[in-house]
């Protein structure tokens, strides 16, 4: 594996490999000194054109625990803000001698473009509405931790699928691992075409919830109201919000997931996020180990993990 750009590039076997390696790093993370020398001497750049605290910190923590060196470029504080082109920024970074670029960008396809320009490995940390593959990997890991396997699990992905990179990556990963995925959203928040998507669609959350093993709630961004996609947040919550009443429709062992950051009271009620079956904070915790696994598989050269 040279780059991690999209979930489908990994395939089912690739996902399984990342999840296997993640197990080792979950163990590392539980140690008193959660650090291994696996990537000593390697340099990882985090290139964030969009503000993202949790994903950037998660990747940087992962790289540090692998003893890699980290450089951070974020939009407001670097040459990016001075109008430097994407290509010039990337080539400048490459010239410093680096091994991997972790990129977050508001435009779909930027990780692909960067991978075509430079020799270093590129990790997609979220590109526009397109993909967020490490989120999907940590989601799969979290589900597997609780349910053993995704095979034949019924998963509902609820909310703004159209504008969601998390949804695109999750749908691909869940389906590759054998899950049965249902999208639940108003038609305005679904992609214009679902041709080739391994999903079924529903507009009736109440009918779907009793039948699922996992309900994955997507973040709803407030600006969607301005684009005539929804009449109001209130109406969205009434139809598609995971309220306390709706959470009671879930099976006892069904998991509640959310990629964060949450709009409590909009797509998910505060007390639902705090339920025992909510694994939202576990997702965050697993994020570091999954990203360690990804960086290790891209950059590692077979060093002893126990080191």
């Amino acid at each position: 594996m040279k780059h991690l750009l999209a979930v489908n590039d990994l395939g089912a076997e690739g996902i399984e490999e990342v999840l296997r390696v993640t197990d080792s790093f979950v163990e590392v993370s539980s140690r008193a000194i959660p650090k291994v020398p696996a990537l000593r001497g390697k340099t990882v750049v985090s290139l964030f054109y969009e503000s993202s605290t949790r994903t950037r910190l998660s990747f940087e923590t992962a790289a540090r625990r692998l003893s890699a060196d980290i450089m951070t470029f974020t939009a407001p504080t670097s040459a990016i803000a001075k109008g430097e082109s994407l290509r010039d920024t990337v080539e400048t970074i490459q010239a410093m001698g680096i091994d991997a670029v972790v990129v977050r960008h508001g435009s779909a396809g930027v990780p692909q473009l960067i991978a075509s320009w430079i020799d270093a490995s590129v990790v997609n940390a979220g590109d526009g509405w397109h993909e967020h593959p490490t989120q999907a990997l940590l989601d799969c890991y979290t589900i597997r931790q609780r349910r053993g396997s995704l095979d034949a699990l019924r998963i509902a992905v609820v909310g703004d699928v159209k504008h969601s990179r998390v949804a695109r990556s999750d749908v691909a990963a869940f389906a590759l691992l054998g899950a049965d995925v249902t999208l639940v959203a108003p038609p305005t928040l679904l992609p214009p075409s679902l041709e080739g998507w391994p999903v079924t669609v529903s507009h009736d959350l109440d009918a779907v919830l009793p039948k699922v093993d996992v309900v994955y709630v997507l973040r709803l961004q407030n600006e969607r109201m301005k684009e005539a996609l929804l009449p109001s947040l209130r109406e969205y919550t009434a139809s598609y919000g995971l309220t306390r009443r709706r959470a009671d429709l879930l099976a006892d062992d069904a998991l509640v997931m959310h990629p964060g950051p949450m709009n409590r009271g909009v797509e998910i009620a505060a007390d639902v996020a705090a339920l025992e079956n909510s694994v939202i904070t576990t997702q965050v915790a697993n994020g570091v180990a999954v990203r360690m696994a990804v960086l290790y598989l891209l950059l590692g050269s077979g060093q002893d993990l126990a080191g």
Binding site: L86, A108, G109, G128, R168, P192, S193, E195, G196
Partner: protein, 416 residues
């Protein structure tokens, strides 16, 4: 020799910028001889739709470099689109572009803007521009959104013996889109432009054509629905014409999968069904012309995220070969679509587009239909490199181009 009157074998003698004789085994001692063995001698091609970028965007193209690319592509006349900076919306800018084209290796004509600054608010001085020979008007790059303003423009233009040409796109419906809306935009997470954004304006302008009786030309149609509307309008006897661009009969939206902005164009690359509909409409005569929509952009502009890059592709040097190779049409039909039919729409009949006969203007191209070549972006005459056909093997190439009797391309090489 191929022209609107048919196909025959003959020598062509040119003198004083005109065809001096057409016949068998012509003898002209001392004359320069251009070998046309195995080739077709045809009227020079005419492009209704070239973005020459001058004034304002000379880093992407100039009138001179664009005209050289055109000559290499077999064109003896091209119509420069008005979305320059400033826009070609007054006699002053028309004159500037015509002056720049006066010494170019291709006859450069100008399309004037319909509205001031192409802003869609007020009519541009069409009579003043028409007096300088402007025969096509368009706000290309954008469509005239306001139906009332477009109605007035059509009415006003009908007294000037000019044609209004529309870039059909309903901006409200297309807003924010960067590629065709459908299977691929959904998968790639890019905002789409539905086919209906084009079709709405085609339908509206057909209605306005019926209302005003004025001629209308549809630029770069890209959807099956648009072509059905035009076919119905023609069947109803309305004075409409239509063009399509080579990329809309050779490429689909699946090309965007790698996010390379070289595949970003407006109207966007559509579905395989739309490509088939474009080809069928060309074969059925619903479409009157193949126009390049040659749209150069400097490399730095195209080395950007897909949704930030400007739309447009080069076209002048590849159009003929693509039409010969990709359309299942006889060469006479391909040349009609590239030469005499667009010449008539541009108001250039008599000067360009033949027929090749004694006394006619010597604007000719000599096509080698068997010449195999590979598109190498770095070898193109355009100042820009944004061809989506880099590396593609094509068959059919212009060997010589003759402008007003002067060979401006000889054996595939530009002479100036």
């Amino acid at each position: 020799m191929v022209d609107a009157t048919g196909t025959r074998r003959a020598d062509v003698l040119v003198a004083g910028g005109r065809v001096a004789a057409v016949g068998d085994d012509l003898d002209a001692p001392g004359a320069q001889v251009l070998d046309a063995g195995g080739c077709l001698v045809a009227p020079g091609l005419v492009d209704l739709h070239a973005h020459l970028r001058e004034p304002g965007r000379e880093e992407a193209e100039t009138v001179e470099t664009g005209a050289r690319a055109a000559a290499l592509g077999g064109y003896t006349a091209i119509v420069a689109m008005p979305n320059t900076e400033p826009a070609i919306d007054s006699a002053a800018v028309v004159r500037q572009v015509l002056d720049l084209g006066a010494t170019a290796p291709c006859d450069v004509r100008v399309a004037g803007a319909i509205t001031v600054g192409r802003a869609g608010k007020a009519l541009a001085p069409m009579a003043e521009m028409a007096a300088l020979g402007v025969r096509l008007f368009t706000d290309d790059g954008a469509g005239v959104q306001d139906a009332r303003l477009m109605r007035r423009a059509l009415e006003y233009a009908s007294a000037l013996d000019v044609t209004l040409a529309q870039h059909c796109e309903d901006e409200a419906l297309a807003a924010g889109g960067h590629m065709h809306e459908g299977e691929w935009s959904s998968r790639l997470g890019l905002p789409g432009i539905p086919a209906e954004a084009e079709e709405l304006m085609v339908a509206r302008d057909i209605a306005l054509c019926r209302l005003t009786g004025a001629r209308a030309h549809f630029l770069h149609l890209s959807t099956a629905g648009s072509l059905e509307l035009v076919a119905a309008a023609k069947a109803a006897g309305l004075p409409v014409t239509a063009e399509v661009a080579p990329h809309h009969f050779t490429l689909t939206h699946a090309e965007v999968a790698g996010y390379d902005p070289v595949y970003k164009v407006n109207p966007p690359l559509r579905t395989a069904a739309d490509v088939a509909a474009v080809k069928a409409a060309l074969a059925a005569g619903v479409v009157d012309a193949i126009a390049t929509d040659h749209a150069p952009h400097a490399p730095e502009a195209k080395e950007a995220p897909f949704d930030q890059a400007p739309p447009g592709m080069l076209g002048l040097e590849t159009a003929l070969a693509l039409a010969l190779g990709e359309l299942d049409l006889p060469v006479e039909r391909v040349l009609a679509l590239l030469s005499w039919q667009p010449a008539a729409i541009a108001g250039l009949a008599g000067e360009h587009g033949g027929p090749i006969a004694e006394g006619a203007a010597a604007n000719l191209c000599v096509v080698d239909p068997a010449a195999a070549w590979v598109v190498e972006p770095d070898l193109l005459a355009s100042r820009s490199r944004n061809t989506p056909y880099g590396g593609r093997k094509l068959r059919g190439r212009v060997r010589h181009t003759i402008l007003r009797g002067e060979p401006v391309v000889i054996d595939f090489e530009a002479q100036r």
